[in-house]
Structure formats: structure tokens, C-alpha cells
């Protein structure tokens, strides 16, 4: 079997499993899975920049929030239909990523982390500053009546799951294809040795900017999807902790792997959900598990799988 065939089989199998899980899981867990898929989109977006391009951003919450607010405000204030509002959210995130990337990519390493962090903090404060429209830290609700698309009520459990699955599938397959494309391989080359990539004639600056925009765009898809499917838009999602989450998810699942983000979100979600039922110190439990994973599986779950068993994993 060729690498492309193996990759296609793997990705389609994941999607088939997600379809099947809807029918076998009880409501609580299928609801969780819908949320996990949305957050996995966010992690996949982050993975483009961090896992494949080697740029560690601490400001991705601003892209998630841009998608969320772009969508939410378009619906609540602009009265736009859902598809148009969704596109607006995506456009906001991509535009913000372009501006941020244009400026932040002049730096690298720790400086890049700090600059993206500062941009994200500014974005958070902008949300609070325009509290008249955004309702600041409280946020606002997107009413159930506004969450209909072509006659389908997205507040129902089934429709929510299907919508989350469709969005996840679109991003998952698109990114899987991009990773195997010439552009994707160039990003990996930049991650491995930027000087060498530049010496070979690649415009690494342009590639990194494109990666940043793509990464921000996908994060914005996740933000808009969260608002659309769960009915809430709030500044909490623009805080620094929501910039740290995708980093953790990707590290856990395996940076630079296409399935890693989904596994990382899944693992982290249920780690907190399960440990919180045992103790109020569940974040301590989560922290210890993360430390252990970092010690014994430094490349994340799928990274270790690729290292030990499936060297072909995309």
C-alpha cells in the first residue's frame, strides 16, 4: 500500500469511527464528542503553525475569538444568515492572522512567543473595551432561533453532532492533503532547517506568513463553530489560557501529526472530566499526567506511535 493510500485509509477510518460513535455513545458522551471535534479543529489549526512549521505561538486565542466574535456579532448585530456570518468569522480570523503574522514573523523563537502573546492580550482588551457591543467578559448568547441553517435546528443534539463532524471532516481532510502537498512539505523543511530551505530557494517568509494565515483561519473556523453550535460568545475564549490549551492538546496528541490534535483534545477533555469526579484537585492530577507524558512520551501520543510503530504516519 502506498503512503497516500495508507494516509487516506487512516483519515477515512477516523471519520468513519466518528460517525459510528454517534450511534453507539450515550447522549452525554456524544455531546462531548461534538465539542471535542470543534476544539480539535482549533488544535489542528494550531498544529499547522506549531507542529508543521515550528513556530510556537502563545496568542492563538485571538484567532479563535476573532472567528467567534466575527460570527456572533454578525448574527446578533448584523442580522446576517448563518453561512454568511460563518464566512465573516473566518475572514476576521484570517485577516487578524495576516496582520499579526506580518508583524510578528519579523521575530522568531522566544520573541515570537512574546509578540503573539502581547497581540492576543491586546485582542482580549479590545473585546473588553468595546463592551457595549461585545458585553465584555460576560459575553452574549446567540439565541436558538438564530441557530437554524436551511431549516436544520443546530440546537438539537443530532444536528450539532453532524455539523461538528462535517466541519471537522472538512478541516481534517483539507489539512491532511495540504500536509502532503508541496506547500506542506516546504513548511516541514522550514521547521527542520529554515536556513537550508532558504538556501534551496524557498521564500520562507512568505511560507510562514501563509502558514500563519491558514492556522489563524482554521482557529477562526473553530471559534465560529463553537459560537454556532453552543450558542455562547465570551471574552474568556480570548484569554491566555485558551492560547495555552491548543499547545497542550497538540503536545499531548503529537505535534506534526494529523490525528494528534484530535487525540490530544480527547485525552485532555476526559482526563479533566474523569479526574474532576474524583477530586477537587483535578488540575493537579492533570498536571501530573502531563508531566509523566512529557517525560515518557515527549513526542506525544501519535508522535510516539510514529516513532515506534507507524513510521508512515502523516
Amino acid at each position: 500500500m502506498t503512503l497516500n493510500a495508507k494516509s487516506a485509509t487512516l483519515h477515512l477510518s477516523v471519520l468513519a469511527a466518528l460517525v459510528a460513535l454517534f450511534f453507539v455513545l450515550p447522549p452525554y458522551h456524544s455531546g462531548n464528542l461534538a465539542r471535542i471535534m470543534v476544539l480539535a479543529i482549533y488544535a489542528m489549526g494550531y498544529n499547522i503553525l506549531f507542529g508543521y512549521t515550528g513556530l510556537l505561538s502563545l496568542g492563538h486565542a485571538m484567532f479563535f475569538a476573532a472567528g467567534m466574535y466575527g460570527f456572533g456579532l454578525s448574527v446578533n448585530l448584523g442580522g446576517l444568515p448563518l453561512p454568511l456570518a460563518f464566512l465573516t468569522g473566518m475572514a476576521c480570523a484570517a485577516a487578524l492572522a495576516a496582520v499579526t503574522g506580518f508583524l510578528a514573523l519579523r521575530t522568531s523563537g522566544v520573541a515570537f512567543m512574546i509578540v503573539t502573546l502581547m497581540f492576543a492580550q491586546t485582542a482580549y482588551l479590545v473585546v473588553l473595551y468595546f463592551g457595549t457591543y461585545t458585553r465584555g467578559d460576560e459575553g452574549f448568547v446567540i439565541q436558538s432561533a438564530d441557530r437554524m441553517i436551511m431549516g436544520v435546528d443546530l440546537t438539537s443534539e443530532g444536528a450539532r453532532y453532524v455539523a461538528a463532524l462535517l466541519l471537522f471532516s472538512a478541516c481534517f481532510l483539507t489539512l491532511a492533503r495540504i500536509i502532503r502537498s508541496r506547500f506542506g512539505r516546504t513548511l516541514v523543511a522550514i521547521r527542520e532547517n529554515e536556513e537550508r530551505a532558504r538556501m534551496l530557494g524557498y521564500d520562507t517568509g512568505a511560507h510562514k506568513l501563509k502558514a500563519m494565515i491558514l492556522s489563524g483561519l482554521i482557529a477562526g473556523v473553530a471559534g465560529a463553530a463553537y459560537a454556532m453550535l453552543f450558542g455562547y460568545v465570551g471574552a474568556t475564549f480570548a484569554t491566555v489560557q485558551y492560547s495555552i490549551f491548543p499547545l497542550l492538546w497538540v503536545l499531548l496528541g503529537g505535534a506534526g501529526t494529523t490525528i494528534g490534535p484530535l487525540l490530544g483534545v480527547f485525552f485532555m477533555f476526559y482526563l479533566i472530566d474523569f479526574s474532576s469526579s474524583l477530586t477537587t484537585a483535578y488540575m493537579l492530577v492533570a498536571g501530573v499526567v502531563l508531566v509523566l507524558l512529557t517525560m515518557f512520551a515527549p513526542q506525544g501520543l501519535m508522535g510516539e506511535m510514529r516513532k515506534r510503530v507507524f513510521a508512515w504516519l502523516p
Binding site: A20, F23, V24, L25, P26, P27, Y28, H29, G31, N32, R35, L125, L128, Y129, G131, T132, R135, G136, D137, E138, G139, F140, V141, I142, S144, T155, S156, F230, G231, Y232, G234, A235, T236, F237, D273, S276, T280, Y282, M283
Partner: protein, 432 residues
């Protein structure tokens, strides 16, 4: 027990599960809630999901909301429970986070299969959770004091019958401030939604009393020093109105004292700033002689009602509003009565609706919506209340206390009518 809908869903899922041979999922404990729910009997406990701020910025409130909840449930169970069934509290930590809050609501509805959810304080958690409560058709009784319920932002499944909202609180303060402290007010507030509510509602209310807000000083969140903001206070200010929250409040008070020295304008604040903080803490000496809004007076008054005395004893709080087992452990007394009163409203609503199970949730909400007068009693130890079924919001009296010799002494009690305003929504017009 009328729980057919959820039961049917669980069986369908399980049938599919067997058909697809996914026993491994069962082995991981994926279905415990569904199995237990199918066996529910009329003598089974009424399960109330308590969305607790056990961690995060609301943890101090969460701990005391928990203590009050446990005391209220003990009293209810000692009196025979609800409709002859004991009450069981199911606690989940929401981390004072709206995303986790929504997840907790889903866990209550679909895994624990509680009858109602209750207890949330922070507005962003309420607003993040309420859409899911509405979609899951889970009655959601919040103890938040936010205006989000009465504003019409939420849905028919979200109610606030145990504590007044910020609009009502702020509005009822204006007559006392204008008539006793002064008409030119400078407001210092945190630059986020909670502060903006105070800014907007109080500005309108003080103008209605013939006063004016001469300066509005918004302090960004995460600010740690406030001295540079104080020169913005106009010299002709009669009253400084402050509503700072968070750990920096001690610094705020200390620096305000250093700025004004012995000659200061009148100072009025919301006790939210100092909930769970001893008013006699070092650095707070400047608060002597200043005024505070209190939902429920922290310090027992000379004419304390028998209901408040009994309530304090039940929760384990002394006359200074601190834990009887640790005088340094000061409670969130001005707010936590809301948990006690909300649970008693849930009890009354369930008894009126003859609540038997989740199929009666709509009947429960209609029963609560039909409530109006709630007399001062041990069910409502803070004072009499008037519930507005259309807006799902309760109204009650408010207290203004003056710090006198280190004690919060009630100077004025605003009437229920002082805090009432025009309806902004009619939730009863929404379908279930």
C-alpha cells in the same frame, strides 16, 4: 415516575451499542447514568445539580455557596424532603469558566440525570451555560445577581428566584446616596461588564434622583495599582462610588486612603469587593465611616430577625459573618443566602407542581412562574421577596450599612419597590 423520554433515549442507544459490538465503551463506564435512571422510583432522591465555583476566581464564593447549600438541603430533608423524597445534591466544579460550565450542565442533564441545576454565581458562567440548559430542557436556577436573566438574554429554563439582580440593587441605592451622601458622584469601576452595569444603571438612577455622575473612572482588569486613577476624581465630588472586585481590592482601598488622607468625600461601595474579607483586615482602616450595599447584612444587627439568627446557626456562621469554627474564615454573607432561598423556592415549586420526575420540569417552571409574594420567613431569611414570573427575576429589599467601629451597621433598608423596574421580557410567552 414520568421519565419516559430520557429512558427511551437510553434504551435506543444501548440497543445500537449491542448491535455494533462496542462493549469496550461500556467497560469504560460510558453508561452509568442511563442505567441508574431507568431504575428510578418514586422514593428515589430528587437530584439537584450544584454548579459550583470550586476553583477559579469564584472559589471563595463557591465554598460558601456550598456550605449554605448543604445546610439548606439538610433542613429540607429534616422536614421530610420534597414530595416525600429526599434531596440529593450532585456537585460539579465549573472552574468559574463558561466553557466548563456548559459542559457541567450537559453532565448534569445527560450523565447524572438530575432534576434541576442550580447555584451558579458568575455571570459569564451563567450566560455560557444557560443556552445548553435551555436546549437540554433542564431547569436552571441561578444565584448570580446578574441582570442577564431579567434582560431577556436567556431562556425560559433559566430562573433567578433567590437573589435580586444588579439593576435592582443599584437602582435602589440611588435615593439614599442622593439624599444623604451627596448628588455629585464619581464612579470607579472595573472596566468589564460587571462594572459597566453599575456605571449604566447607577448613572440613570442617580439622575432620576436629581444627582449626576461627574466622572466615570474605568479601571482595566488585572490592574494592580490605582494611585494614578485617583487624580481623575473631580474636586467637587460629593461621593466616590466604588465597586472594585478581585484580590487587588485591598490595594485599592489602601491607596484610596493614602490619596485622600483625613479629608475625604463620602464613600459608598458594594460589599462584593470585600466578600470573604474581614472588614477589620490591616489596610482597610480607611473604610471606617464609609457605606456599603449589602444584600444580607454580614454582621448581626441589634434587631436581628429570628430567621436570620436561625439561618446563621444552620449554616454555621457567627454574628460577625465568619465560620463558627474559624473566626478568620469570613463568609460571602451578602450573597450566599440566595442558595438557601433558591432551594426553598425549588421545593415550593416542586410541591405545587406535584413534581415526580423530569417529565414534570415544565410544570415546575410554570409553578415557579406563578409565584409572587415570598414572605420573610426561615425559607427567606434575607427578607420578603416579590417574584416576577414573566422576567424570572425576584425583587427584594436592599441594605446600606455604615462601617462603625469596625462593624457593618445597617443605616438604611431600601424597599422592594425601590428596586423594581419595567419588564424587559416575558419568558412565559416562550414555548417549552
Amino acid at each position: 415516575m414520568s421519565n419516559g423520554t430520557s429512558k427511551k433515549t437510553g434504551l435506543n442507544r444501548r440497543t445500537a451499542l449491542k448491535g455494533m459490538g462496542a462493549g469496550a465503551l461500556l467497560a469504560t463506564g460510558a453508561l452509568p447514568g442511563s442505567l441508574g435512571f431507568a431504575q428510578a422510583q418514586s422514593s428515589a432522591p430528587i437530584k439537584i445539580g450544584f454548579q459550583k465555583h470550586a476553583t477559579g476566581i469564584g472559589a471563595a464564593y463557591g465554598r460558601w455557596y456550598d456550605a449554605t447549600t448543604q445546610a439548606a438541603v439538610k433542613r429540607i430533608n429534616d422536614m421530610g424532603g420534597i414530595n416525600g423524597r429526599p434531596v440529593e445534591i450532585v456537585i460539579e466544579d465549573d472552574g468559574t469558566d463558561p466553557k466548563r460550565g456548559a459542559e457541567v450542565i450537559e453532565k448534569f442533564a445527560n450523565q447524572h440525570e438530575v432534576d434541576v441545576a442550580f447555584g451558579t454565581l458568575f455571570s459569564h458562567v451563567v450566560i455560557g451555560s444557560a443556552p445548553r440548559a435551555g436546549e437540554l430542557k433542564l431547569p436552571y436556577f441561578v444565584v448570580s445577581e446578574g441582570h442577564h436573566v431579567a434582560s431577556g438574554m436567556l431562556n425560559r429554563y433559566t430562573l433567578q428566584p433567590g437573589i435580586t439582580d444588579v439593576k435592582s440593587q443599584v437602582q435602589s441605592m440611588a435615593p439614599f446616596v442622593a439624599n444623604n451622601l451627596g448628588k455629585k458622584v464619581t464612579m470607579i469601576f472595573p472596566d468589564f461588564a460587571f462594572g459597566h452595569d453599575h456605571r449604566d444603571f447607577f448613572s440613570a438612577a442617580i439622575e432620576a434622583q436629581g444627582g449626576e455622575v461627574v466622572a466615570k473612572i474605568a479601571v482595566p482588569p488585572a490592574e494592580t495599582s490605582f494611585t494614578r486613577y485617583f487624580p481623575q476624581i473631580p474636586r467637587d465630588t460629593d461621593v466616590v462610588y466604588h465597586v472594585m472586585v478581585g484580590p487587588a481590592v485591598l490595594t485599592f482601598v489602601k491607596e484610596l486612603g493614602e490619596f485622600f488622607g483625613p479629608s475625604r468625600p463620602e464613600i459608598f461601595g458594594f460589599i462584593d469587593s470585600l466578600e470573604a474579607v474581614d472588614i477589620n483586615s490591616p489596610g482597610l482602616e480607611f473604610l471606617e465611616g464609609t457605606y456599603f450595599w449589602e444584600g444580607h447584612p454580614r454582621h448581626a444587627q441589634k434587631d436581628n430577625s429570628e430567621y436570620d439568627t436561625a439561618y446563621r446557626a444552620a449554616v454555621g456562621v457567627d454574628d460577625r459573618g465568619a465560620s463558627v469554627s474559624d473566626p478568620k474564615d469570613v463568609s460571602t454573607y451578602a450573597h450566599m443566602f440566595g442558595c438557601w432561598e433558591t432551594l426553598n423556592v425549588i421545593k415550593a415549586g416542586m410541591e405545587t407542581a406535584d413534581y415526580q420526575g423530569p417529565a414534570d420540569r415544565a410544570k415546575l417552571i410554570e409553578a415557579v412562574e406563578a409565584m409572587t409574594d415570598m414572605p420573610h420567613s426561615l425559607d427567606h431569611p434575607q427578607g420578603a421577596k416579590l417574584f416576577n414570573g414573566k422576567t424570572h427575576q425576584v425583587f427584594g429589599s436592599q441594605h446600606i450599612s455604615k462601617v462603625t467601629d469596625g462593624t457593618l451597621t445597617v443605616e438604611h433598608t431600601a424597599s422592594i419597590e425601590d428596586g423594581m423596574y419595567e419588564d424587559e421580557v416575558d419568558y412565559t410567552a416562550q414555548s417549552f
